[in-house]
Amino acid sequence: MDGMIKVTVIDREGVAHELDGPTDMGMNMMELCKSAELPVEGTCGGMAMCASCHMYVESETDLPEKSGDEEDMLDEAFVVEDNSRLGCQLHLSEALDGLVVRLAPGG
């Protein structure tokens, strides 16, 4: 469908949720997870200031580089891996179609 992408979010119990993400609403992965009632806190509301939307990218999707803010904020997350990202900094666009992420522990 035009303006919609499919992404998969694996929750902390290992259950995969396939979600439809609109690309025309300025949404990001943190917001998409919250709208699907997945356990992502997004405490700061998406300003890369709380690290509560930490997730691992499990697909080979070509993603925009991490900003300095995002890299700094990951310092306050735990179990950070090379594929760690903050969901709030992954803006839904065609480029994210087929993205698979796994929610980081805690929250």
Partner: protein, 335 residues
Amino acid sequence: MIQTDILIIGAGPTGLFAVFEAGLLKLRCHLIDALPQAGGQCAEIYPKKPIYDIPAYPSILAGELVDRLMEQAAPFDPGFTLGERADAVEKDEEGQFIVTTNKGTKHRAPIIAIAGGLGSFEPRKPPVPNLAHFEDRGVEYIIKDPQFYAGKKVVISGGGDSALDWAIFLSDGVAKEVTLIHRRTEFRGHLDSVQKVMDLAAKGKLRLMTNAEVVEAHGEDHLTGLLVKSKDEGMVELATDHWVPLFGLSPKLGPIADWNLNIEKNAIEVDTFDYSTNVPGIYAIGDINTYPGKLKLILCGFHEATLMVQSAFKRIYPEKNLVLKYTTVNGVNGF
């Protein structure tokens, strides 16, 4: 014992505006906040970020919004208990609430308004097994008195200013040995602090382990060692007397969860008629409450605070009639 009319838990924008609206009705307020300053998330998380949806302010910095709310509340002389978390609530024989903080400060009021946002800000704890067992037995999340570490082996984790500053301070003849562990090679703290840490590490006064994180804590009654997973050195066992993880603060609903209030998904259920909770005399306003159609906006918190104080007035003075008075007609008459 601190006595007031409305005891507000949480000194963020909603709590501060409640002081103003209560003041217009001649009700006094006192605020409790776990953070050392007023302003809540606006002051703690994003003081330098602009907010664009405050009516009549096309753009205002969050920190500036807090300053203006403080100024607006000032004529009504609110009291503050800052740096303390509201822990316990009980009722006395006169039906007033007594709220005690984690430091033992007691407050008495006929009305409680919980404006706690996402909860009280508490240190973020690393997901290390048995961590709770070692709390205050070698694991501390805040350095209260640096002399506590005199002659001890200390490991600090984190990459921000507090981790850097304490590593520098403790390695200057205070602790016996200081190790700073950080998950990457770059630090987000001030450049001169980063340089100082690098210099101290080069001189051998501080052990710096980057690309590393603590994965296990070891010991019997007291911490004796940490297992560190390092990308460069593999698994490393470090002998230490103390570990201070400094990963910033995150909000937790905390003890309020045990106040017998109806809670749904970490938020307090309220009646939108007056934002009252299921416990008569306790209200919840701002981001901490929930109701059908709830939006977590400062704007909505202001509205909720305004309706809440009307209802609080009627509870305190059931015999008095309340007439809405416009500030434009009467001005603001402080205490």
